[in-house]
């Protein structure tokens, strides 16, 4: 029951945030919308016992990444580049068609009542997916240790790359 209410609440805020991202003229508002969505999703993670991931979501995403976003927005200036003339006049038309197809598809699926989206689902054992740090760490440092190392390397490289890009003093064309 609690999860049901939580789900509805958080789903609404997440969707509202997402729509804000897309429609806001000012990128700062978009960023705020995204922030809302990220928080809502983090709550939904907790609702599904993914504690560690939820924490990371808040710290890394809502914390670090969003700060970075805002920083860049401020750096570039709150530029409303969307106001300039549209170079792809047919873009909205095509996107509309795609959106229509998606809606039709979704409606079709919903109306057919087939909500069983995880067909192999079994009896849920909450303990099995209790995402504590310990529980996550175990597969992470056994089965996935190679991937873990690789991502570590990736992070280092991307940090170095970002610095290199920032230091880049190319001639202005």
């Amino acid at each position: 029951m609690v999860e049901g209410i939580l789900f509805v609440l958080m789903a609404v805020t997440a969707l509202a945030g997402a729509v804000t991202v897309v429609v806001a003229r000012n990128p700062v508002y978009s960023a705020m919308g995204l922030l809302g969505t990220l928080f809502s999703v983090a709550v939904l993670y907790v609702a599904q016992l993914a504690h560690f991931v939820a924490a990371v979501q808040v710290i890394v995403y809502a914390g670090a990444v969003m700060t970075l976003f805002l920083f860049v927005i401020m750096f570039i200036g709150v530029d409303t580049s969307d106001d300039r003339d549209e170079r792809l006049p047919m873009q909205r038309f095509w996107v509309g068609i795609l959106a229509g197809v998606i809606v039709l598809l979704a409606a079709g699926i919903t109306l057919s009542g087939n909500f069983d989206w995880v067909p192999a689902a079994v009896e849920t054992i909450p303990e099995a997916t209790n995402g504590t740090i310990q529980a996550i760490a175990e597969p992470l440092f056994t089965d996935w240790v190679l991937a873990f190392e690789a991502t570590a390397l990736l992070l280092t490289i991307s940090a170095a790359g970002a610095i290199a890009l920032a230091h880049f003093k190319g001639q202005r064309t």
Binding site: M1, F7, L15, V65, I76, R84
Partner: protein, 101 residues
């Protein structure tokens, strides 16, 4: 009541579609980036839900990795945007069509 995985999936799908449409409609590179983050989050949500439905912790591990990669991607991506902006003084994606065939 336990909300069944289907609802989470539906929410994720909605988020994903909104992100995708935003990606296609907006011309501000930063906003497009945010839309990508939206889509990533939607996918993360499906992984968590599916993991729970299947009693598999690896769903969460995958999300962890995606978070890391997303962070790295944002760092580099924003650095590129800044670099481009310094040259071109614009954040509009349509201005960047040098790779036209």
């Amino acid at each position: 009541m336990i909300v069944s995985a289907g609802y989470y999936m539906a929410l994720a799908a909605a988020l994903f579609v909104i992100g995708a449409l935003g990606m296609l409609l907006r011309r501000n590179v930063l906003v497009m980036f945010m839309c990508i983050e939206l889509m990533l989050n939607a996918v993360n949500l499906t992984l968590i839900s599916a993991g729970r439905a299947l009693n598999d912790l690896n769903g969460q591990v995958a999300v962890f990795f995606i978070l890391v990669v997303a962070a790295a991607e944002v760092v580099v991506g924003l650095a590129i945007i800044v670099a481009i902006f310094r040259r071109r003084s614009t954040a509009s994606i349509d201005e960047l069509s040098e790779l036209r065939g």
